[in-house]
C-alpha cells in the first residue's frame, strides 16, 4: 500500500501510458486523474503538468477537476487509509464519538495524516454499508457494527502489525 514517493523520485513516464489508455480529449480527464492517483496515491502537481503537456486538456481544466471532486487528493497519503463513514445511519448510531476515539488514538486533530506517515484518517459521506453501521474502512476492508472499543481494537491490530514489520 506504500504508494507515496517524494516529488523528486516520481516516475512520470507512467503518465504517457495512462494517457494512451484513457485518451487525450477533455472527457478523459477524470479517468486519467483516477488512474494517476491509483499509481501515486495522490495527484502530484508534476504529474498534472505532464498530463497537460501530453493531452489537449488545459492546466486549468485539470486543476479545476482535481479540486472539485472529493476523491482527488493533492497531498500524499499515509501508509494506511482509514475512512470513517459519516453517513446518516452511522451518524445516528454514534460514529462521531468513534471518530473522536480513533483520532485521539492517532494523536490527530480531527482528520489528517499522522506525523510518522503511518495513517491517514478521513471522514467520508457514506460507504453504503448502512445496515451494519457504524462502519469504517481501512485500506479497502470494511469493518461494521463498530463500538469505540471494537474500533480501537481493530486500529491497534494495524498499529501492532506496523511495528512488527
Amino acid at each position: 500500500m506504500n504508494k507515496q514517493a517524494a516529488a523528486s523520485d516520481l516516475d512520470l513516464s507512467v503518465v504517457g501510458d495512462t494517457v494512451e489508455r484513457c485518451g487525450t480529449g477533455q472527457d478523459a480527464v477524470i479517468p486519467i486523474l483516477l488512474d494517476l492517483q491509483e499509481t501515486f496515491g495522490y495527484l502530484p502537481v508534476e504529474a498534472m503538468q505532464r498530463v497537460a503537456e501530453e493531452t489537449d486538456i488545459t492546466p486549468d481544466q485539470i486543476y479545476g477537476v482535481a479540486t472539485f471532486y472529493a476523491q482527488f487528493r493533492l497531498e500524499p497519503l499515509g501508509k494506511h487509509l482509514i475512512r470513517m463513514c459519516h453517513g446518516t445511519s452511522c451518524h445516528v448510531r454514534g460514529i462521531v464519538g468513534i471518530t473522536d476515539t480513533i483520532s485521539d488514538l492517532l494523536d490527530l486533530d480531527g482528520e489528517g495524516t499522522t506525523a510518522d506517515g503511518g495513517f491517514t484518517l478521513e471522514k467520508v459521506a457514506c460507504l453504503g454499508c448502512c445496515s451494519l453501521s457504524p462502519v469504517m474502512m481501512i485500506d479497502g476492508q470494511v469493518f461494521g457494527g463498530l463500538t469505540r472499543k471494537k474500533a480501537k481494537r481493530i486500529l491497534k491490530r494495524f498499529q501492532r502489525e506496523e511495528t512488527e514489520q
Binding site: Q26, H86, H91
Partner: protein, 591 residues
C-alpha cells in the same frame, strides 16, 4: 448437480460483517472434511442484519440458509451438515431461531428489482442466463418494434426510482422522438445519498440485469452506446460490473448486430469521483464530459440535448433493473402492484436505529408503519421509533404520527419528505432532530457546487444558525430566519440539490419544533445528544467503582478509588460519552 453446494453471501454488507473470514473458514474446513462439496459466492439477499449468510444446497436441491455464520459456526456447519447430512437447524432461516424473524422480514416484500439478488453468483453470467437472463433483450430486439418497447414500459406505469419519479416511458419517448444519428443511455449509479445502498445491493448482486435494462433502453431510443456512471466509493460494484461487461461481450450480448439484427450496443463504465451533485442529470453529464460537475439550466432537457450535445436518457439503477422484468412479464404484471399513480415496487435501505436493517423491496402503497414495524421490527434500542428520514439530504423526517402514510410518490411528498432514491433511516428518541437537520445541512453545504448564490451562501448561513442552536446560543428569531432562508434557497437554486436541500430543516421545524424551542429557550437537548447542552455525572449508588470509565476517559476527567464511587470533573469533561458506553452498571447519568 450431485454435489452439495455451499454459497456465501459476499456483497459489501456481508464482507463488513466478516464474510471473508467465513469463506476462508469454510474453504479450509471443506478441504479437510470427507465430503464432496463446492464453495461459491452470491450477492446480498437483503437480510443484512443476519450477515454473514451461508446457503447450503443439498444434492437433491434442498436449500438451507444459515444466518450470523461466524468462522466457528462455519466449521460446525461443514462438520455436521456437509459431511454428515445433518443440518444445524437452530441457525437456519428454515426452522431455527431466525425462522420467525426471517418470515416477518420477508412476507410483505415483493421481489422484482431484487429477483436475483442473493440467488445467483454475480460474477458468473451462466447463472444469470439460467434465470431468464438476456431473454428480455432478445424478445425486444427480435419481436418488438422500438415503439412497442416504449409503449410497454409506459403502460407499466414505471417511474424513475432515483427519486424524482418521472415516468420512464415518457422520458424514453422524448429521446426516441429526437432525431439524431447518435444517442446515448446513461445508468446513474452514483448513489450519493448518505444512508442509501439499494443501488449498491443490485450492482454487486445482479449486475447483468442492469446491463440488460440499459440494452433495452438503448434499443428503444436508438442508442448504440451506454455509460454507467458509478461512484468510486463502490469498488466491489465496479469490479463486478467490469466482469459482467466482459462476460456479456464474450457471449455476444454486447457488440455488433445483436441477435442477428441491425441493433449494435456497447457499454462503458465511467467512475464518479465523489460529488453528490453529480446525481443531478446535467451535472452527471458534465462530469462524463470531463468538466466540474455543475448543473445547467433546463431546457434543453438531456432527452433532446444531453451528453456531447446528443439526445441522452439517464435512468437510475433500480429503474433499469425493472425493465427486463416488465418486457418478459408484461406491463400488467408490474402495474398490478401499487397505487393509482405509483406502480410496482420500491427498494428501500432500512438503516439507522432499526432492529432488522437491510435492503427491502416493498409493493408501492404499503404504509411506512408496515415497513418499519412489521418488516423492520421497530427500533433496535427498545425505545419507540420517533421518525424516519426518507430521501436523504433532499428528503425529510416523517414523524411516527404520520406512519400511516403510504409509499407513493405523491403521498410522501405531501409530508414534506420525498420518495427519494430509497434511504430510510430510522430514529428513536435518543436522536436529536436539530442535530439531524444540522447533519444534513453540513452535507449539502459541503456538496453545493457553488453555482447558485443562495445554495452556496444560504446553506452556509443556515448551517451556522443550526450549529448555534445546537450549542445553546440560538434565539427564537433564528427559527424564522431559518425558514426564510430555506424558502429562498429552494426557490432560487437551479438544480435538485439546492431545490431540496432545505427539506430536512423544514420538516424537522414542522414536526419537531418543540425540540428546537427546547434548545433555544430551555438550553436543553431533549435527546441528550448536543454536547454543549448536556452534563455527565456518576450515580454514586449504582457505581461499583470498577474503573472501566476511568480507563476509557480520554481527558482523565474521572477519578475515584477502586470499589469506591467515582466522580466526573465537569470542567475537564468533554462530554464524549465514552464512559456512558463503557459502564455496565448503568451508573453514568446524562442530563
Amino acid at each position: 448437480m450431485n454435489q452439495t453446494q455451499v454459497i456465501v453471501g459476499m456483497a459489501s454488507c456481508g464482507l463488513a460483517a466478516g464474510a471473508q473470514e467465513t469463506y476462508d473458514a469454510l474453504n479450509e474446513a471443506l478441504s479437510k472434511a470427507d465430503a464432496e462439496a463446492s464453495l461459491g459466492l452470491s450477492g446480498c439477499i437483503g437480510v443484512c442484519f443476519l450477515e454473514p449468510i451461508v446457503k447450503v444446497v443439498e444434492p437433491d436441491g434442498t436449500e438451507w440458509t444459515y444466518g450470523n455464520v461466524t468462522a466457528k459456526r462455519a466449521r460446525t456447519i461443514v462438520q455436521k451438515h456437509v459431511a454428515k447430512g445433518d443440518p444445524v437447524s437452530e441457525w437456519t432461516f428454515e426452522s431455527g431461531e431466525y425462522a420467525k424473524t426471517f418470515e416477518s422480514f420477508t412476507n410483505k416484500q415483493v421481489r422484482i428489482v431484487m429477483r436475483n439478488c442473493g440467488e445467483i453468483d454475480p460474477e458468473n453470467i451462466q447463472e444469470y442466463l439460467n434465470r431468464d437472463g438476456y431473454k428480455a433483450i432478445e424478445k425486444a430486439v427480435t419481436s418488438m418494434t422500438r415503439q412497442e418497447v416504449i409503449d410497454e414500459i409506459t403502460a407499466s406505469g414505471l417511474r424513475g426510482r432515483g427519486g424524482a419519479g418521472f415516468p420512464t416511458g415518457r422520458k424514453w419517448q422524448f429521446a426516441y422522438d429526437a432525431s439524431n444519428d447518435t444517442k446515448y443511455i446513461i445508468c446513474n449509479a452514483d448513489e450519493g445519498d448518505p444512508g442509501a445502498f439499494m443501488n449498491r445491493t443490485v450492482l454487486e448482486s445482479d449486475p447483468h440485469s442492469v446491463l440488460e435494462g440499459m440494452m433495452i433502453g438503448g434499443y428503444a431510443i436508438g442508442a448504440e452506446q451506454g455509460f454507467i456512471y458509478c461512484r468510486a466509493e463502490y469498488p466491489l460494484a465496479l469490479k463486478r460490473l467490469r466482469i459482467a461487461i466482459d462476460q456479456a461481450r464474450e457471449r455476444g450480448f454486447l457488440g455488433e448486430n445483436l441477435f442477428d439484427s441491425d441493433f449494435s450496443f456497447d457499454i462503458e463504465i465511467r467512475q464518479g469521483a465523489g460529488a453528490f451533485v453529480c446525481g443531478e442529470e446535467t451535472a452527471l453529464i458534465a462530469s462524463i464530459e470531463g468538466k466540474r460537475g455543475m448543473p445547467k439550466l433546463r431546457p434543453p432537457y438531456p432527452a433532446t440535448s444531453g451528453l456531447f450535445g446528443k439526445p441522452t436518457i439517464i435512468n437510475n439503477v433500480n429503474t433499469l433493473t425493472n425493465v427486463p422484468w416488465v418486457i418478459l412479464n408484461g406491463a400488467e404484471a408490474l402495474a398490478q402492484y401499487g397505487t393509482e399513480t405509483s406502480k410496482g415496487t420500491k427498494v428501500f435501505s432500512l438503516a439507522g436505529k432499526i432492529a432488522r436493517g437491510g435492503s427491502v423491496e416493498v409493493p408501492m402503497g404499503i404504509t411506512l408503519d408496515e415497513m418499519i414495524h412489521d418488516i423492520g421490527g421497530g427500533s433496535n434500542t427498545g425505545k419507540p421509533v420517533k421518525a424516519v428520514q426518507m430521501g436523504g439530504p433532499s428528503g425529510g423526517c416523517v414523524p411516527a404520527s404520520l406512519f400511516d402514510t403510504r409509499v407513493d410518490y405523491e403521498e410522501l411528498t405531501s409530508t414534506g419528505a420525498i420518495m427519494g432514491s430509497g434511504g430510510a433511516v430510522v430514529m428513536d428518541e435518543e436522536t436529536c432532530m436539530v442535530d439531524i437537520a444540522r447533519f444534513f445541512l453540513n452535507f449539502t453545504q459541503t456538496e453545493s457546487c457553488g453555482k447558485c448564490t443562495y445554495c452556496r451562501v444560504g446553506t452556509r448561513r443556515m448551517l451556522e444558525i443550526l450549529t448555534r442552536i445546537c450549542e445553546g446560543e440560538g434565539t427564537m428569531e433564528d427559527l424564522d430566519t431559518l425558514e426564510e432562508l430555506a424558502e429562498k434557497v429552494k426557490s432560487t437554486a437551479l438544480c435538485g440539490l439546492g431545490n431540496t436541500a432545505p427539506n430536512p430543516v423544514l420538516t424537522t421545524l414542522q414536526y419537531f419544533r418543540d425540540e428546537y424551542v427546547a434548545h433555544v429557550e430551555d438550553k436543553t437537548c431533549p435527546a441528550k445528544v448536543c454536547r454543549s447542552l448536556i452534563t455527565y455525572s456518576i450515580d454514586a449508588e449504582a457505581c461499583t467503582g470498577c474503573g472501566a470509565c476511568i480507563r476509557v476517559c480520554p481527558v482523565d476527567a474521572i477519578t475515584g478509588e477502586r470499589k469506591e464511587p467515582h466522580r466526573i470533573d465537569p470542567d475537564l469533561c468533554t462530554r464524549c460519552g465514552s464512559c456512558y458506553e463503557a459502564c455496565t452498571f448503568d451508573a453514568i447519568r446524562v442530563e
